[in-house]
Symmetry: C2
Subunit: 195 residues, 2 copies
DNA sequence: TTTGAAACATACCACTTAGTATGTAATGAG
DNA sequence: CTCATTACATACTAAGTGGTATGTTTCAAA
């Protein structure tokens, strides 16, 4: 019961990497299998089909990873505006988990899959909402502390931030790092105007 | 020489519609042909291959369409900030050329194809830059008229606006119309802060 | 009216695709 | 040890893929 779990995990990890680079629809099962030491029998033993595998990796790998990187840094912050601006900068400049050319795995999947599959759409929607709500809560705490104007609609600002992030990941694919820097600068102007 | 041009155009138009909905890579040539009264012989008579066809439709249909909808409204504006905010609203709410579920054809292609093909990337980059520059020029005229703070970096603001647009199209796919409205409201706050 | 190029139409091909059928090896409870 | 379940491995299939080869029709100039 131990090694098989590792096989299942490896399949999801390899898939995640390939889907990140090539997209879901043009990553074939054969692609996945030939880039690791696993056969088709193993794949269809662990997963009912390709879509179930992708949904599993979203739920079991992408979602927890997102919580760690996007949600946890927002808890217990002293200065929400600074925390949030800094988080956006940290994520966009994170070269370990992201490659500028390929953008953000979550945003990519929203772009590609949400119009094609209700199941994908729902998973991605919930994941995105988790981040949006975390940002909103963070801002609300700042509002309680008087660091943020009381008339600010925190949920709307949170949505605006995630929207900006998604756009930056898109523009980054053609314009490169410059577009990140440029975006971050203007976004921080916006954030400061909320004080 | 007349009817054949119509055939060529029809192929590109049908392709554009299918690619908009399903994406480039998962729209097959057979898909395109079976949704119109044209055969494979005609397709490969007019286009060398699938990619050349897509590049042709970007250049000959998408680009001119973009200029008409995104660039021309910005020429000869009296109040650039208002013009630009209004344009963004008009485009996002345009139900004739866009479907919320499928986002924006240009943004979709950037997302899907720019990491996979230099040729796509260059076409899309040039097209996007055309819009960015038009916005920047519009803002510059406002700056000359004193309607915009002189210290504002118009090119950076233009990039920021297009980035926001791209993000809004992405978020719209999962959150629907509400995310458009919410984004537009916050973006107009940002724009007003440039006066 | 002839004729040759342009504009298609049809049939086919090698390859890839998700998924299945059926085998065999590992493993852990009794 | 034993044996049934688990965890794979191998070989295959039917449908789809981009693209080609080879036709047949259309049409405009001579």
């Amino acid at each position: 019961m131990r090694k098989s779990e590792q096989t299942r995990l490896s399949i999801m990890q390899t898939s995640a990497q390939l889907i990140y680079v090539k997209g879901y629809q043009s990553t074939s099962i054969d692609d996945i299998l030939s880039s690791m030491q696993v056969t088709k029998g193993a794949f269809f033993y662990h997963f009912k089909n390709k879509e179930e595998m992708a949904l599993a990796f979203i739920k079991e790998l992408m979602y927890p990873g997102m919580r760690m990187m996007m949600v946890e840094p927002l808890l217990n912050s002293k200065d929400p505006i600074k925390t949030i601006s800094k988080q956006l900068k940290d994520i966009l400049n994170n070269k370990v988990h992201f490659d500028m050319r390929y953008g953000c795995p979550m945003i990519n999947l929203i772009e590609e899959m949400s119009p094609l599959s209700e199941a994908f759409s729902n998973s991605l929607k919930m994941m995105t909402l988790t981040w949006v709500n975390a940002i909103s809560d963070c801002l609300k705490r700042g509002q309680a502390n008087g660091q943020l104007r009381p008339d600010v609609n925190t949920l709307e600002v949170a949505n605006y931030m995630v929207t900006g992030y998604a756009g930056a990941r898109n523009m980054g694919k053609i314009f490169g790092i410059k577009s990140y820097q440029s975006f971050l600068k203007q976004f921080s102007f916006y954030m400061e105007s909320l004080r």
